[in-house]
């Protein structure tokens, strides 16, 4: 077992563990923090796969910007206390069971996945580098890139509509 494999398992464990903590934390602020840890773990995976650009972007955009926004909203609403009333226990249980079953079913379904046995190369290749990604983004992917500006425009207008008193 080489170092990258050890890293893989460690990061995976971290991601899963902190993801579970996101769900089970009573305090929203704790959830946010656990989620940030999950994002770090995922960024770690990206870097492990030599997708440095995505790893960094993930940290900046998700862990940095988005989660801060979340935190900000939670603070704004003064929700940092464990205010959430107990949801119906049965419903909660049903949720967990349903999610668990879905996991089982999907895993079972994908056990015979046609890509089984193929390898996702770790630590090699340069497609994850910003140069290559940038080139592709502004040549082959220029249309979606431009289109996403429309998306942002609409989000902007939306924020205006919603936010304006």
């Amino acid at each position: 077992m080489d170092i990258s494999q050890i890293l893989f398992y460690a990061l995976s464990a971290l991601a899963l563990g902190s993801a579970i903590m996101v769900v089970i934390s009573r305090n929203p602020v704790h959830s946010v923090l656990w989620l940030i840890i999950t994002f770090f773990a995922i960024s770690g995976h990206y870097i492990l796969m030599n997708a440095q650009f995505l790893g960094i972007v993930n940290l900046i955009v998700y862990a940095g910007a988005i989660m801060v926004l979340f935190l900000f909203v939670i603070m704004l609403m003064n929700l940092n206390a464990e205010t959430e009333p107990q949801k119906n226990k049965w419903l909660k249980l049903a949720g967990v069971v349903a999610g668990g079953c879905l996991l089982l079913v999907m895993v079972a379904a994908l056990k015979q996945a046609e890509v089984k046995g193929q390898v996702a190369m770790l630590g090699t290749g340069d497609i994850g580098l910003i140069k290559n990604l940038g080139q592709a983004l502004f040549t082959d992917y220029v249309v979606p890139f431009e289109i996403s500006s429309v998306l942002f425009l609409s989000a902007m207008v939306g924020a205006v509509v919603i936010g304006k008193k």
Binding site: Q5, V57, M77, P85, G99, L133, L151
Partner: protein, 109 residues
């Protein structure tokens, strides 16, 4: 690293996200769990990207790159969604002083 491990990992994260959506009542946390789901997808996409790279690199030096680009777009969209989503949640909070989705039951049947 064998691809199925990434598949299982991603699905597990994905399902944890789903369980979070199912089990929590706080709109913000539900939203966070959805973000978790998206991240699971991102992770899997990158893994597939690397897998296809391994297969196709001989013919094409940038094989598998579209997977990573897709991740980029997902992040873009997620950012936009978050801005709108949080705006809605805040608006809701302003009116009801709660982010508990179970209070959202004026519309039913």
């Amino acid at each position: 690293m064998l691809i199925e491990r990434y598949i299982y990992l991603a699905i597990a994260l994905f399902c944890i996200g789903i369980v979070g959506v199912l089990a929590r009542r706080n709109a913000i946390i539900i939203f966070m769990c959805i973000e978790l789901m998206l991240n699971a997808v991102n992770l899997l996409l990158v893994a597939f990207s690397k897998m296809h790279y391994a297969v196709g690199v001989a013919k094409n030096a940038t094989a598998g790159i579209d997977g990573q680009l897709f991740v980029f777009f997902i992040m873009v969209v997620a950012a936009a969604e978050v801005s709108v989503g949080l705006a809605i949640i805040v608006m809701m909070y302003r009116n009801t002083h709660s982010v508990d989705v179970n209070f959202l039951n004026r519309l039913k049947h």
